[in-house]
Amino acid sequence: MSDPITLGILALVVLVVLIAIRIPIAYGMILVGGIGIAWLNGPALLLSQLKTLAYGQFSIYDLSVVPMFVLMGELATVAGLSQALFRGANAWLGWMRGGTAMAAIAGCAGFGAVCGSSLATASTMGKVALPELKRYNYSGALATGSLAAGGVLGILIPPSVVLIVYAVIVEANIVTMFAAAMLPGILAVILFIVTIAIYVAVRPEAGPPGGASDRAEFVSATLGLLPVMVIFGLVLGGIYAGFFNPTPAAAVGVFLVWLYGLLKGKLDLRTSAAALKATARTSGMIYLILLGAELMKIFMSRIGLPQQAAAWIADSGMAPMMVMVLILVALILLGCLMDSLSMILLVIPFFWPMLLEINGGLYQETEGAGYGMSTEDLKVWFGILALIVVELGLITPPVGMNVFIISALAKDTPMIETFKGVAPFFCAELLRVALLLAFPALTLWLPRLLGG
């Protein structure tokens, strides 16, 4: 074991094998990282570090927003926020051809504004919208495809758990990242709706128009949207207006959604316990991955692999844009295997130093930078691009978690139909990535405007 690079690559292979035999990704990373450190520097060192490492990771202040946003999403689920959202969106869009599917997309976007997770968005909107789509005789492919794709908006529209974790890894400002995600998120909604419009133009029978709602229903459904707008406005608006930082903002969000559920009569001891349990599962899972990733990072740093990889890329003379595209392609491919959070945690510590090196270092200004932008901007731009491509993994075969969730809800649609239905949205996403690559301003304009 004289060659550390060989050792590092061997460790990554072992990790892939462990993941392949269904060992939880977090425990795979803990095992490989832990044994790797012990192998390199002796078990005593690892054991010493374990005295404080887990507490240190779990008490990172910037991450405290994660369980809070998870709780906010879970409360929103039991409080029936998704019904109100879908009903409101449907009153506006449902009369069009393909309109009910468009309403599902809009509903997902709305739910994404209070929930940080893609899976939660897909499943909660799926439960509400699937019966309606079926009622209007939508094709199985279009119905399930738009919901699986729409679920992705849960993470693209802030707040977003993956984005928070990314910000912590590269030491970016969370508020700036949220602002940066906003326009690309809206772009996604527009592209998805256009995709549906084109889809039903080609295959009119796939998405028949729903009936126009009467005036009373229209008004009441529209009013039903108000709470979400108020909550979203107060939470994110409050951050930008300067009332609070993200953690208190998330706390206020939890409080408001809880109040909403209470007023709607949907929250009692049983449903609150259900929301807390779901929060426990998701948050515990996220933090365990975090700990595993930290152990992997320590092991890899002690070997010197990320530094060597960064130096190698910088010396290779590859065009900066080429490197960026290769990284994004690698993330899309990895997304076929892994979940987005594990991916961000495992590979960003490798990829970010490469981009940093190419751009000219941590304090690089726009002048003379490899990517033609300051390193601070690069952090933001790359973060949004990475977020989008890792989320693509949720709708690509063979493992597309959103597709699985929607398939489980739509028992009469074969999974292959759902994958077919998702394909046009996948193309829309590729178009969006291309747009964001070509025009960094789409990402960077809003955070600059808001003075981050």
Binding site: A20, I21, P24, F58, L71, V252, G284
Partner: protein, 168 residues
């Protein structure tokens, strides 16, 4: 409140399941307390002045809450796996793999409870406190050690259950 977790379980393992679930809910209550502290601090800052301890109480509170969630994650199989390669594997094989995963969790929790116990002694001996309220950090370690002990129990239960399935 515990029907989902105790279904298909009896005797000792049902008792563990009930305990682990109750502990996770307690962790949830701690998280709610952190939420409350932050809301109070925000309201306080708008109308009067911010509550200076919110930062450090959030750090400790979230850590305590999340550790309390870990046994429940183990019990309810919440930790993400990649299922692609094993999608067609026969049930007994999957059960063996689940047992292996539970065994890793068991070993990890055992090492961690031992190490974090020593960590707690360090924190106490060297008198680590938070900056503003001067809360001793080792107080936070006490519930965390209980969480890890429950993680050991949950891993043992899930491991035995998986092993039983290999024979079924």
């Amino acid at each position: 409140m515990f029907t989902f977790e105790t279904a298909h379980r009896s005797g000792l393992s049902a008792a563990v399941a009930r305990l682990v679930t109750a502990w996770a809910l307690l962790g949830g209550v701690v998280l709610l307390a952190v939420v409350a502290i932050n809301v109070v601090s925000v309201v306080g800052a708008v109308f009067w002045k911010p509550f200076p301890g919110d930062f450090e109480l959030t750090e400790i509170g979230v850590a305590v809450a999340v550790f309390a969630f870990l046994p429940y994650c183990q019990l309810t199989d919440a930790n993400v796996t990649a299922d692609i390669f094993t999608a067609r594997a026969p049930k007994p094989v999957l059960a063996v793999l689940r047992a292996v995963a539970a065994l890793i969790a068991f070993g990890f929790a055992t090492i961690l409870v031992w190490r974090m116990y020593l960590g707690m002694l360090d924190q106490r001996e060297y008198d680590y406190t938070t900056a503003i309220l001067q809360v001793p950090i080792w107080w936070g370690f006490v519930p965390i050690l209980i969480s890890l002990a429950l993680l050991i129990a949950a891993a043992a239960v899930t491991c035995l259950e998986a092993l039983r399935e290999t024979r079924a």
